[in-house]
Symmetry: C2
Subunit: 339 residues, 2 copies
């Protein structure tokens, strides 16, 4: 027995696919200098963004991204039914304080770097289910707040292994509604937590790749589609190491993704020029690439249908210190532009 708005065992199919009315993105200077720099709404001049701490800078990016997306749609906070947001910091403090400043009814999420995709999935459920007219989902991360929480303080200058990824500094917000212009969220395949035993927080792409593949495989099975049915299949932050693993794993399942499979963590930096090793990561990685680059291509008609898979590494400093491996998750969302 399947619920009415489902296709196959796992995939949600929205009856009246919610519209992505507007997106907003704010990034740090390094992301602004990267290959996608022109696609972001705002590039801040320094990583403090005028604040006293990096944590406060990250929070300000998140808050400003939400304000920006509301301004684009000429909405005020009281016009927005729900804010769904999260970030990487312990107890998701960036999201909590941004929500405090905005006063919008708030549903806090934690899904590591896949947060914006969990948010889009739930926002579409709220709208298609008839519970809301305007929902904003948002996520942030910051290189310096993240490094000092998960790995080493950046001032320490620890040498990074080639598998390490560079946490994206930035925030993005996505505004969804039942009607309007813009691409639509048509389907979602929610992730399962998958853990293949990777224990190195400097090798997160390898930890997350099997989870992304689990979601993509279930999505194809549920929908009867193949990679060729998408203009683009794009993961959140597998980076070059994880991308190669995911490509091989999908190939071994009979899915040839050689022509249209990419990763936000690969696209956002020029890794040779910018010394970012395996690529970008962090909640902001998939969020700002969706809000900037991908929304641009969808609105221009270059992409008609994409499968975005937000990827997350669900570990903490305590769990790695206690010898635990790093579980991964991947939330898949289909975004289509119909005209």
């Amino acid at each position: 027995m399947s619920a009415p708005k489902r296709v196959g065992q796992y995939t949600l199919q929205y009856a009246n696919p919610p519209v992505v009315v507007a997106t907003a993105s704010i990034v740090g200077p390094k992301e602004g200098e990267g290959p996608l720099g022109d696609s972001f709404d705002m590039v801040v001049a320094d990583s403090y963004f005028g604040e006293q701490s990096w944590e406060k800078a990250e929070r300000k990016m998140l808050e400003e991204a939400v304000k920006m997306v509301m301004a684009k749609a000429q909405l005020k906070p009281q016009d927005v039914d729900f804010l769904l947001a999260g970030d990487l910091l312990s107890q998701t403090i960036s999201a909590n304080y941004a929500a405090r400043a905005l006063g919008i009814p708030f549903l806090g999420l934690y899904s590591a770097c896949s947060t914006i995709y969990e948010g889009m999935t739930l926002a579409a459920i709220l709208i298609d289910g008839g519970f809301a007219h305007h929902v904003v989902t948002a996520a942030s991360s910051h290189y310096d707040t993240s490094e000092r929480q998960f790995r080493f303080p950046t001032e320490q200058g620890i040498q990074r292994p080639p598998t390490a990824q560079w946490t994206v500094s930035g925030a993005a917000a996505v505004l969804m509604a039942p009607v309007g212009n813009g691409p639509r969220i048509t389907q979602a395949t929610v992730g399962r937590v998958v853990d293949m035993g990777i224990k190195d927080p400097n090798d997160m792409g390898a930890a997350m790749a099997p989870a992304a593949v689990d979601t993509i495989g279930r999505h194809f099975q549920d929908t009867g589609r193949n990679p060729i049915d998408y203009d683009l299949i794009i993961t959140g932050d597998l980076g070059r190491v994880g991308h190669e693993i995911a490509t091989q794993l999908l190939g071994s399942q009979g899915y040839d993704v050689s022509r249209n499979f990419s990763d936000c963590g690969i696209l956002i930096y020029d890794h040779q020029r910018q010394d970012t090793h395996a690529g970008g990561s962090g909640c902001a990685c998939s969020a700002v690439v969706f809000a900037g680059h991908l929304m641009g291509k969808l609105n221009q008609g270059e992409y008609k249908r994409i499968l975005g898979v937000g990827t997350g590494a669900l570990f903490s400093t305590t769990s790695t210190q206690q010898g635990e491996s790093i579980p991964g998750i991947g939330h898949g969302v289909v975004i289509e532009k119909f005209n």
Copy 2:
């Protein structure tokens, strides 16, 4: 313009109110010795629950609670469409690892001690919206993991001020479905983040009380109801200090809650006999009291309609160290037993 499944500006009204088919609760020895001890499904003999660390004990409690609620309904993990869960630990590691063990598509939440109420709100949306048949929502906390993360390691034996609360060790899981016996979730009023400037992590009741009052007030305004329309209005973990503040604030808004207003943090311990100061707190506090005590009263017909308001303090150790005040949130859910 209001979305169809809404009453007033903020309150969700489910068209086909989802049924709470079963609940499961596991608590530590101290909670087992408290006034509600008989209402819980399992009382573990010691705070390690047979594990090597308190973090692993908390995770095991969460995982076992989910398994127990599925067993009660004779369901297997593959019968459950979604698991929505969270906890207090950084990066919600208890929930992440429990989700890894269970293999159910997972939506991670962070809403501090109000997590189970955010989960029930979203689970009801998934079911009433036609997206799912069986959803489990779960939350956990543990005295020793929480104290050492937010305040001081328990081994240190720091003296606790009278306003301090005692984090409940335990976990609960709630299974919801479109049909079945059991109470139904009829309405939900999602919380806004409210901050009145409290900076003391040993006075969380005072920090959260205004957020609970904001939600209860909006709920009454939206629905046109009064306190007397509920058999019970119960907050999650305001404790005795926060409960008194909330009672006064509601009184000043013209709502007399003197006869039917309670708090899970007050009910769960005998504070004089058990030395728990202002009362219980933690994600497990409202979760196990709902799953055990309140479900019992609803199923026995003693309560026909209750308003439960999960309360959360949305701070982190970093935010208090950086001089920030503690924002609060309160998610309100109406649970009714029709026959």
